[in-house]
Structures are given as C-alpha cells and as structure tokens.
Subunit: 348 residues, 2 copies
C-alpha cells in the first residue's frame, strides 16, 4: 500500500467538494465521511441516513466533480476466459459485489497478460470502486494511474515478481503440491512424475516446490526426466503424459499442476491402453466442478476459487474504504480430495 | 416489439412527443425531482406515483439530456453461472463489446429466473446501452421500464412464452434433436432413450420434438418409458440413466438434452459396468469445451454458444442504434459432432 499516499489511502480526493460536503453534512446532521460515502456510491451507510443525505443534496443542488466520483462498479480483469475456473472466481466476486450493490464489469484480455492502453483509459473513465486482476500483470504505469485516482487494485494469483507489493489473493500452492505428492508416496508410488505449468509463474513454481519437498522428505530422489514443463491446458497434459508413458521406465503416478492437464493425462492413458488407477495414478490441481465426473472421478487438490474471488473483492473494498488491512497477501488453504484416480502401484 | 412504439423500436426517445422531465412531471402531476427519481431508478417514490409517471413515460417517451446519454455499458444477466456454458456466452458478448468499446456488466441472479427490483433500479441508474438476459425472464413491468428508457433488451435462449415478442437469439434446438436421434437410428439403434430437461422450457421441448420426429420418420414408435423429464445437470443425467439401465429391456442408446446430463450418463454406466459405446451409445447437446475430453470423447450436438452471445450483442447494438433488424428472432445452426461415444448396438 506504499503507493497510496495520505491518511485516506484508497480515496485521495481534491479539496473541490469539501466545503459543500461539509455543508451537506451539517444540514443532514451526519459526519463528512458519511457524506463522502454517499457521494461516492459506497455501501455501509444506513438506508435512512443515505436518504437524508440524498434529500439534502437534491434540495441544495450539490454537484460532485464528474471526473472524480467513483461509480458503483468493480472491474474484474481476466487474462483469458478460456479456463473453466474463471467461472468460479466470477461467482465469488459477484457474491460480494451483490451484497455491496456494486456492478461487476468483466474484461477479457484475449490471452494477453497485460491490458492495453485502451483498457486503462476506459477503466479510468468508468471510475470504478476498484480493480481485481486475475492472473494478469498491470504495468507500473497502469498501477500508478489507478493509485493516483484512489482506485484500489487487488491481484488474484499473481503471475510475476513485479506485482509482489500489490495486495493479492492466492492459494496455498506449495502445500497443495506437497499433499498431492505425499498422498501418492503413501500409496506406495516411487516413480512419480510432475507435469507442471510455466515455472515463470510463482503458482507453478510453488506447486513444483511442494512436489520436490514431499519426495525429498520421503528420501526419494527427484528424477529430472519425470518433471516436465508444460502448458496449463488439456493439450499440454496430453502431450507430456504421452511422452512420460513412452519412457523406458514410465512413472506409476502423475501429479499435474492443474485439472485440465490431468484430463489430458486421462486421454493419453486411454490412447495408450493404460488404465487409471490400476496402471497409473493421477492427481490434479483445482477441483474444477467437472473433475468429480471424470472417468474415473479425479483425485485432486481443491483450490477454493470462489472463496478466492470473494476474498479479493473484500480486500479491494477494505482498501477502497481507506482501511489498512492486516494482511495484503492472503493465501487460502488448499485441500486434497481423494477420489478414484489414485491407487497403490501394481508393483508395490 | 409491440411494446416499443414509434419508428425507432429500440430507442423510443420520444422525438415527437414529450421529451423533458418537466413535461412528464406536468402530465403526471408530480414534481420534476420525482420524475428524475423514477427515471433513475431511485427509491423513495410512492408506488402509485411511480406507476403514474411510468404510464406517462410509456405513452409519450422520454428524451434524455445529452449529459444522460447511455453509458458505454452492456448489461449481461445470467439466471445462474453454475453451468459451464455460461463462459462461452460471456466470451461472445465480450468480443463484440470490446470492438465497440463497451464494458460488460455481469449479473448473476443466484438461480432465480426473474431479477429483483433492486437489479432493475441499479440497471436504470447505470443507463446501459442495452441488456442481454440469458435464460432469464424479465417481468412485463421490467421490460416496459427498459423500453420506456430506450434501453434495448435481447433475450438469449428464452425460457418462457411471455418473452416471445422480445428480440431473442437461440439455437436450432429441434434440428439438433433430430440430427442426434437420426445418427443413432442410422447406427442401427431402435431402443433410443431421451433424458430431457424441464419441458416448460421451449428449448427442451424443441429438442424433444426433434427426437420424436426422427423416430416417427423412421417408423419407430416412441416408447414413453424411454423418455424422462430430468434436470439439466450431471446429477439429473446420472439418476435418470440409472433408472433407464435398470429397465427390464434397457435402451441401447441415450440422447440427452445437454452435455452435463450426458456426463451423468457416463457415470451411471461406469457404476453399472456398462461400457460406452460398446453397450450403450450416448449423444449429448452443447459441445462444452470439456466434452471432447470425456472418456470416451463425447458425440454431441454443438450449440454455437459463443456465436450466440456475439449475435445477441450485435442485435442489441442494432436496436440501440434505432435500426429495425430484419429478424428479431435468430436461431443459429446446431451441428452434430460425432466422436467416440456412439457405435452400432451389439445386437444390431
């Protein structure tokens, strides 16, 4: 929050309306901050108070500066909407927005990680209560523009180091990788592969870290041939699982960095005549609504995506109210969900 | 379109008649601020007064001052975001909105079919360029409020008859049901079941109609025991497929009203030890991104959901420009995608 100066970090306003706001406050018998909240379309003012303030405003013809008043809008920006988990996050943000009477403006960046200039200008013009960026990177200039307008920014599952000072929400990725791999070790597996996503992304690096830690704690050497950098899509899992299954000594279990990849492993196994879980155990990551219906139902690490969306929205609102949250990095717990895609290895 | 009078159906700005809030106030016998509150969807106006003002607006139209031009916003309202196909539609709307520099405001109604009063008032206050309602019903009063403000409404896949005069976009459901069932007949199946959704929804009724037509054209009697009304979820497909498989003479093929149900059929087959497609052929409806990765990859009727979202947005924009589209009901073609969940019956 170092980039939001002054005593009211989320709301660095000019003095233009202060006199008038003070007069309204006096006439309505409320505090100036309460008037500001009504003026800025914020929640958290009792209905009767809000109506009293609005009545005074109507009567005395107050006009706030059009260029500075935030709208009752939350901007939700996605790197891409192609991943099915996007919907879970949207629902979480929607839930909090609804309670706070905020509209959710959804932007998809067509797979680009950084929104373009047009997006920034449109956002500034819309004067949102805040911005939630999912799996996206805003440039320093973009962050600075938002900060100077008092528009709080929260990042969900940040992809890069430059964002690390921005308030953010993620999942306990390392712990998830650890519990997935430990589950396979406990079943008796020793040749455990990991199909990872791009390690430039901290979430992928953390999942890999958990995988490695579990192996090392069990005294199992990490075999570099069994760790593959892939893409976080079904196609990536399919391609890399096919390569793993073609090894002279193929793995008996695979942990993937997300469920989509795990579904790709399912398909590779079908094509190779390899049965899950009899011949190959598979653990995914995310617990997409769909994975419980895969054939067989998938063992996976549940990422609380909806809760993460809700937490990001709550954090953004707190920042917008000028609060200083105790934590500006939240990691929600992941949970191993054991279904039917994991079993002891045949040779165990 | 009968509720949108005048030569510019989507944008009844009342060029000829009353154009100002003052004139409306005079006709309705209320103050100008009261008219403003009604126009902007604010609370605090007695119901009878509100209705009188609404009646005047309906009759005479209302032209917004330039400062109240519609915001660069499209409202996209979902009955529920739990269905995976929501994402496809969102992407289509996003694509058109992006080109037109419009922000997409997404609202989920938590499973209710009709948005509440708060939603309507918030929408009126946001002054969007238009509203797209997905699988949702707006009340006549809500439709009328939008129309009187010149806010065009387009419905995607309407669920009920009362909406039939509203411009809408759907898929060729009947043709889809026909081609799915015909495909199974051509493979040699005779005992073909259908797991349908609630037939109160025209889309489900149309898919059932296509199924029946294909059977009748092939001279195969429709067996009522093989047609089941279910819910459009995995659980519905699972439950009803289990019931079908437990029949003294079970079907050799199942056509479902959506892919989620078909995934439920997969699970029911797995539990019953029934192999797909060797023992049971399955055809879904939608072609969710996921269904190509099911085990086995699913034969299904592709519904062009993204294109439907884009078409709804285009139609809404045309109405907003005051154009009179040649068609106010668009049905985009469905396409049978044959994968590996269908095969000739064993006994054929």
């Amino acid at each position: 929050m170092t980039d939001m100066p002054g005593p009211k970090p989320g709301r660095a306003r000019g003095d233009a309306g202060v006199t008038t706001a003070a007069a309204i406050a006096r006439l309505a018998g409320v505090s100036v901050p309460t008037v500001s909240r009504v003026l800025n379309g914020k929640a958290g003012v009792a209905l009767a108070t809000r109506e009293r303030v609005e009545a005074v405003i109507r009567e005395h013809g107050y006009r706030r500066p059009e260029t500075e008043a935030p709208a009752a809008i939350v901007e939700l920006v996605f790197h891409a909407l192609e991943s099915l988990w996007a919907l879970e996050i949207i629902r979480g943000v929607e839930r909090v927005a609804r309670v706070n009477e905020l509209a959710v403006v959804l932007t998809e960046m067509e797979g680009r990680l950084t929104p373009g200039r047009a997006w920034t200008e449109q956002v500034l013009a819309r004067r949102p209560a805040g911005v939630i960026a999912v799996f996206s990177e805003l440039t320093v200039a973009q962050q600075s523009k938002l900060a100077s307008r008092g528009i709080p920014l929260v990042v969900l599952d940040p992809t890069g180091e430059p964002m690390h000072e921005t308030p953010s929400v993620g999942a306990a990725n390392w712990s998830g990788g650890l519990s997935a791999t430990r589950h396979l070790i406990e079943l008796g597996h020793r040749r455990i592969a990991m199909i990872n996503g791009p390690v430039v992304w901290p979430c992928c690096r953390a999942r890999l870290g958990g995988y490695r830690a579990a192996l090392e704690m069990a005294g199992i050497p990490v075999d570099p041939a069994l760790v593959r950098d892939s893409t976080l899509y079904v196609e990536g899992g399919l391609k890399d699982a096919a390569a793993l299954l073609a090894l002279p000594e193929p793995p008996t279990a695979v942990f993937t960095a997300n469920d989509l990849q795990a579904h790709g492993v399912y398909e590779a196994a079908r094509r190779a005549g390899v049965r899950i879980p009899q011949d190959l155990s598979v653990v995914g990551f995310d617990d997409l609504p769909f994975s419980q219906w895969a054939g067989p139902p998938m063992t996976t690490v549940r990422q609380p995506l909806e809760e993460m969306g809700a937490a990001a929205a709550e954090l953004m609102l707190a920042l917008g109210r000028g609060e200083q949250p105790r934590f500006t990095r939240l990691e929600l717990a992941t949970e191993l969900i054991v279904r039917q895609s994991t079993a002891p290895p045949r040779t165990a």
